[in-house]
Amino acid sequence: MKAVILAGGEGKDMRPLSIGIPKTLIKLLGKPVVCYVIDALISVGISDIAIVVGNSSMFEHELSEYLSKYDIKLIEQVKPEVEGAILSASNFISGSDVFLLAYGDIIAPTKAYEVLLNTYISRSSDAAILITPKVDVETYGVPIVSNEFTIRSVMEKPEAVSEIEYAVAGAYVLPSKFIDLIEEEGNVIRALNDLSARYTVAAALWSGWWVDVGFPWDLITASEYLLSELRSSRISVNADMSPRAVIQGPVIIGDEAAIDHNAVIKGPVYIGEKTYIGTGALIRNYSSIESECIVGAYSEISRSVIQPQTSIGRMSFVGDSIVGFKSVIEPGVTILNVLPSGVEVSRLYPVKVRGKLLSKLGAIVGNNCRIRAHTVVYAGTIINSGEIYP
């Protein structure tokens, strides 16, 4: 079976992190978001893969290892929107009976794709759509399912739906004639509805974790799930580990990373290649710090995603935040991370802290930013890429 991965989207909701880099190339635990889909497809035996991208040179660079190892093609998107992306792959799909369509910004275990393929095969349907239970369906596509658990139709980001708590999970098995339907209808949702009206489209129910990386804080959710699946620690032999560093719980520490004296790392935590963790720094659970970062002495990082080549000065606190690449947080910066009560952010789920429900979100710091020394950054602050704050 052929597979098409859509990775050409602009990622508007992901701004400012998607400025200067496609959303699907943002890193999580050392690999770009899109690679989670590629790996899953390869492990279910699909190797004939095309990725539809906006700018192929960036992908060529970031995915070079994959491109040399597997039969993966990059297709540049010609027309805009999802419809344009799928149509760009029509030559690749033509000739095959069905194909798998996957969204490059979905992070889920491989089993989710197995569920999709198994449903398609064992219910001998013409097509299958992966769905997953969700309460806040208004930010997703919503499937209308029949009593026999087939898809009747799909609604895109409906304002109010009652009686349905499933979201379309961004993976499909579709007949190649779907391309014609898109051309006819000019719209994916209408094409899916056409398909469901004419053919049997099975609903494949995925019950495990699943993250659609749409908003910056989805990256934190995704890294939390990925880190919670760590069952063992992996510390590179080339990492420079101080004998007095304290490491608790599962961690991944990459090549040539350096952990200085008295640093405390409370896993699950990811620390990328060549990243330096300073003396006395505290890296708390569910933090993912990518390659070539610097965390200064006595700084604290908690439940945050830090992109490559960013440095965080000494005595800073970064909590529940997402920091883009090549940014600088000068010494003594404090990022507050509890949203005032009553503030609601879509897809941000309150967490329980000592019995109290809190909405926690720190700062969303873009790429190539600078936060001046000793600044207090309020919860929920967005700092644009390239900005010097304040």
Binding site: S124, V137, L205, W206, G208, G355
Partner: protein
Amino acid sequence: MCGIIGLVAKQDFLREPIGRIIKRCLKRLEYRGYDSVGFAYIDGNSGSLIVRKSEGKIDDVAGKLKFDDAIGCTAIGHTRWATHGKPSDYNAHPHIDCKGLIAVVHNGIIQNYLELKRELMGRGHIFRSETDTEVISHILEELIERGFKPLEAIREAFKVLRGAFAFAVIFAFEPSKIYFAKQTSPLIIGLGSRANYIASDIPAFLEYTNRVIVVRDGEFGYISPTEVYLESLSSGIVDIKSRMRVIGWTPEMAMKSGYPHFMLKEIHEQPIAMERTLKSLTTEELEKAIELLLNANRVFIAACGTSFHAGLVADYALTVLAGIPSIPFISSEYLKYSNVFSDRDVGIVISQSGETIDSLMALRKMKESGVKVIAVSNVIDSAIPREADLAIYTRAGPEIGVAATKTFTTQIIALLKLACQVSGSMGFDVEEVIRDLERLPKLASRIIRAYEGKCKILGEEVSSAQSAFYLSRGIGVPLSMEGALKLKEIAYIHAEAYPAGESKHGPIALIEKDFPVVFSVLLDNYREHLIGNVAEMKARGAYTIGLIPRGDERFIKILDKYLEMPHVNYLVAPALYVVPMQLIAYYAAVSRGYDPDKPRNLAKTVTVE
């Protein structure tokens, strides 16, 4: 549901007896049915068609069927889950025609088999079984006699048959081909290098090949060692190249119709299972049971685990609807009553598998004292129904998940229907209950769709708790017991159920901040009382979750989380309210990283006392 397998190989390709391979494939289809097994093959030496079949599980009858003796290159096999005709050697598949030249294995139901059978018998065909399947072999026999080639005969037969079915056929005079046809029931072709396979499901042959073709509705054809022919009734010959798929994933996942776990599949199957059970329970079926209950001196209800909870629901309904209070007890505790049982009493013994040893012992004790016993089971002709005076069957289909889900809801349906009929024949008005029973399949399906997201979140929240309470009053108590049992057995969270009024007499001492308490509020006279019970839990910091009748503001105001349930008669409510509880337990187990299909220390059928 049944499982079928077929295999054709080139001469000398197979390195072991074909029977042994068929047995291995059938083992993997056992989840689709396990009450009888059989296979047919073309003998390698004589070239004749040989059929061996028996009632019983594959491993139990392997010696009798002598799988290892079957040597040849063409064979079909079958594992059965009885729908038409009880499990017996005669009713086991394959079924042959009058001359023994055609052997058929079949999965599904042929709706118009009765009329076809009557016509065929009128023309002199001799039927050896009570199954719907046997009509296929006799129809094919007639068509062949009229000069049709096997492929044409299959095409013609296909046009006559109505229903949901998939079948595979061997003709003795075409020894290296297996013919097949498919409508609704699943059928998959496996492509090997010098052998081809056909089966109800991929895992059956996945050990030998991972290249498959999924046969679609209305398609038929044949496989030979080197060729696959596929034709559609509507659109002619099918190009098989474009239809081939390579399976690159684990076979274990492939058996669950796509669902990640059997338990989730079975929760989702409940609307269908309910519908089937409702349809199959006619007044005639229940007539004898009604008569027994009407004339009973006392009624005993014996069961274990989930079945016991269904028994408690039945007790409640019989008391309220028919004024027949019964004595429900856990089967293993039967000794207490052994001096009391008398021949004027009636016993109801409930067991999903029909083999639960504790319930079987209780049944035997009752029978010794002359108690008339009604069995309620999901497995036709298993030990308990066999030894009982009469049996009522739930039609839930095989249940593989160890935690009972669809068998609980169908047991409730069967028992409530019985209680209603008893009450109705005493002249009481039970129309409302019956009407709501009939609505259950649709409502259950709606509840699943509407609340799966919330149940997932509730499951994730509960998953971090040490213990939980399930509270209600009235018929909501056995419902709560079942909800608590689900959480215990698959998510390993200590959970207890109490009548809500009882909590003040002790259990409330355990309540501390964030202790989850699940309330079931039904449309009965206990509703007002439960408001106070929720408030007292809330006052002590409990995390209160409620299943409440739609729109009941008094509860919406005080509960931390609630699911609004459709308004149904309170007697019917347990079968509906339990569905979200099953989902909560399932998602709690999944989020704790446990496999809900394989709870530790538990077995599906308990056969030791």
